[in-house]
Amino acid sequence: MSTAPVVEQPNLPRWQSIALLVGAIGIAICLAGLAFETTRVHVFRAWLVGFCLTVGIALGSLVVLMLQYLTGGDWGFILRRPLEAATSTMPLVTLFYLPLALVLSSLYEWADPAKVEADPHLQHKALYLNVPFAWIRAGIYFAIWNLLAFLLNRWSRQQDTARDMAIHKRCEALSAPGMVLYVLTITFASVDWVMSLEPEWFSTMYGAMFGMGQVLSGFAFAVAMLVLLSRRLEVGQLTGGNNLRDLGSLLLAFVMVWAYLSFSQFLLIYSGNLPEEVPWYIYRFEGGWKYLGLMLVIFHFALPFVLLLSTNVKRNRAMLASVALLVLLMRAVDLLWLIVPAFHHNSEAVNPPLGARLIYVAALVGMGGIWFAYFLMQLQRWPLAPAFNPYAEGAVHGAVAGH
């Protein structure tokens, strides 16, 4: 693998225009929803869900990329370019956040001066939960994430042409503090954006659980992309044999860790049964939300878990991609389940009207579509196989072994 493989450019522009069109329709529906008094607040909430999904894929990819730099492993070679393209959507995701920053008071009780006035509990938290500080924190998070994504992409490009192991070492050296920064930022970001929707509730597990959800989103997305692209590209030859199986095993591991963290939090709050903690789950078991919760147990954990135990499933491209897409879909369901029941003070949240439900779908599809189009644009800028990489030899070996 000393020479750059000649990579035939895939027919991605078509996918890109479709994604852009679908995205534009979704966003248009959201904008239309803004016009009506009854649906306006749902647009804000739906935007928050869509933002959490897209930022989750982008950040999750960043974490997987850094994890690979830190731990090595041949699987990183074939996954690198989809991961890098997903991280380079960070500017778009930052843009997605801006509308939210302007409507904080419609979403968060702590951003509404009238409510803070009336609630001593919120006054206690005002030291942390206040609008200017929330803006400053968001600025810090996005600065760190954009910088990490930018540097890792830039250095990887440089390595393609310079063929210098020193650049690879530099990526490794950045990844260790990068991981620490990610864990710290996502912990506080998850409090700021999601947990504080119910400012009376708290859980020390939340940041870890939310972050793991992002890692899972990023990884599932990258695996699904890789398999879809493998039909068209030279890199597809590398998705054979043990390489694909390793990706499946990692997906299984991430699914298990997510389930472990989520279940632990549930068990501990359920058994403690304290009045300040357990309502969080009660709201999420009301109305139709309990079916969504049940879906998470079955399709976010049980089914992927059982399927990914099988080596045959992990080696089969179509099956592996289906499982990865299922997990990605469930990530969206999980975010809906985490976020929307938080507005329980408003009875519409338990059972939103049909028009409002449409808004949630439109926001997810719209933001997802725009994001995907941007991702494809990034993906097409560079060859799909890194030209110079210490793991290339192992990846080629792994693709052949096991056949």
Partner: protein, 462 residues
């Protein structure tokens, strides 16, 4: 990172020194066991361990004669040294399973030279841990009442209690660890049997080798069994300490009812486990000149795992402090205030110094490649993890909801003698293991040689 100063001809990243052949590996490891004379240093170490073990027996004898009143546990601190030490020892045991099972499944070949004694360490640590709940029962001869069996007393375990889950988690863990360790030993037992010049050695190792002849069928069955056991042992790495964390977190005691506890306990367990592996490996490789096999690269990797898990543990401390403030709950805030400025505050500050501040040195490559600095750091982390359990258990219990039932706790002389005694038991067992069984897997070390690389194709298969 290529500018590393290497102290010998050993290159960085190499996990076995060059120049070895199948024969030299076998000789080097086998000769520790089959030496004619036992080294003086071995006798010194063993006798210290043995003496402390006698202290353990004395404590247990006194405990059975007089009851657990000789310990410091009392209302409000009903769990003291016994549970602190139980969790400490169980945590130490985790590195063995992680190295032997998870690193095997992840195909980390560097695990080969440290897995054997790390697994042995696990077994002895679990044995030490088990003593505490057993003797805390007061009447340990009724321990079988914990098991669900039909009886005329209408006695049935309380399945909602994590303490019962613990019984099953720990016994399963001990059983699987023992099996895993023993199966891994079989081919080496056969090697020692064949090399023994004395009939007692041939009989002893011959029985343990279970008729191993090294045929292709034997190897095939062996590899299958070993991989299956690794798969079985992997969930145990997580489950045991998760259940231990449930012992606390399922309750509603402030400082115990913390949702981050499961992953944070697991990370802490691996942290202390790797600290103990380093505590043992560094003197061991010096004593028997095993630097060719347990290289500086091994120490570097273990130090990195320690740094990673140490950061996770630090995250746990931090998030607990932040959420206690954020919650606005008077009991949560009271607990944190008690931790930071209460009567046991120095335990907390010492814990932060040992577990959070000191390990930050591991970011520096120089430190990771300096065995004796690592040795000192590993001792500090072992101490820090003991303090962590002390802070979690004693500081949370001694002041809970009702100020009228607040009190103080300190371990009695018998608490300390039991603790020192289990350390003695641990080291006595470990020295016996070093003398009578190969501390490094002989046959797995052979597979690291270039001559053995035909095996890599096979290894890649599931």
């Amino acid at each position: 990172m290529a500018q590393a100063p290497s102290q010998s001809e050993l290159q960085e990243g190499q996990i076995i020194a060059p120049g070895h052949s199948f024969g030299t590996i076998t000789d080097k490891i086998g000769s520790i066991v089959q030496a004619r004379r036992t080294p003086k240093r071995w006798w010194t170490g063993f006798l210290i361990g043995f003496t402390l073990m006698m202290l353990l027996f004395l404590t247990i004898g006194n405990l059975l004669a007089r009851g657990i009143g000789i310990w410091g546990n009392n209302a409000p601190v009903g769990w003291g040294f016994d549970i602190v030490n139980f969790v400490w020892w169980i945590g130490i045991g985790h590195a063995g399973t992680l190295i032997s099972a998870i690193l095997l499944l992840l195909r980390q070949r560097w695990r080969t030279s440290i897995n054997r004694f790390a697994e042995a360490m696990t077994l002895f640590a679990v044995a030490c841990a088990g003593l505490y709940p057993l003797f805390h029962m007061g009447r340990p001869w009724f321990f079988y009442w914990l098991l669900p069996y039909p009886n005329t007393m209408e006695l049935w375990p309380q399945w909602r209690s994590p303490l019962i889950w613990d019984v099953f988690a720990v016994t399963t863990y001990a059983t699987v660890s023992l099996l895993f360790w023993f199966i891994g030993l079989i081919p080496d037992m056969a090697t020692l049997r064949d090399r023994s010049k004395w009939w007692i050695g041939r009989v002893f190792y011959g029985i343990l080798a279970m008729g191993w002849r090294g045929s292709a069928v034997h190897w095939h069955r062996y590899e299958t069994a070993y991989l299956l056991l690794a798969g079985l042992a992997t969930p145990l790495v997580v489950s045991v300490h998760t259940v231990v964390s449930f012992d606390f977190a399922v309750s509603i005691v402030p400082g115990w009812h913390v949702t981050i506890f499961p992953p944070y306990f697991v990370a802490g367990a691996i942290y202390s486990g790797f600290a103990m592996v380093l505590t043992l490996a560094i003197p061991l490789r010096k004593m028997y000149k095993l630097e060719d096999f347990i290289t500086d690269t091994h120490l570097d990797y273990m130090a990195r795992i320690m740094l990673t898990t140490g950061l996770m543990v630090a995250y746990g401390y931090g998030i607990e402090l932040f959420m206690a403030w954020y919650s606005g709950n008077v009991y949560e805030k009271g607990l944190i205030a008690n931790r930071l400025i209460g009567p046991y505050r120095w335990f907390f500050y010492a814990l932060i110094a040992c577990n959070v501040v000191a390990p930050q040195l591991l970011w520096f490559k120089k430190v990771r490649y300096s065995p004796w600095t690592l040795f000192v750091l590993s001792l500090i982390v072992n101490l820090g993890m003991w303090l962590e359990r002390y802070v979690i258990i004693v500081v949370s219990l001694h002041r809970d909801y009702l100020p009228s039932s607040w009190g103080m706790y300190s371990g009695t002389g018998w608490d300390w003698s039991m603790y020192l005694g289990t350390i003695g038991l641990f080291f006595a067992c470990l020295f016996l293991f070093i003398r009578f069984l190969p501390v490094i897997s002989i046959f797995e070390m052979r597979t690291l040689l270039p001559e053995a690389h035909v095996h890599t194709e096979k290894e890649a298969k599931p």
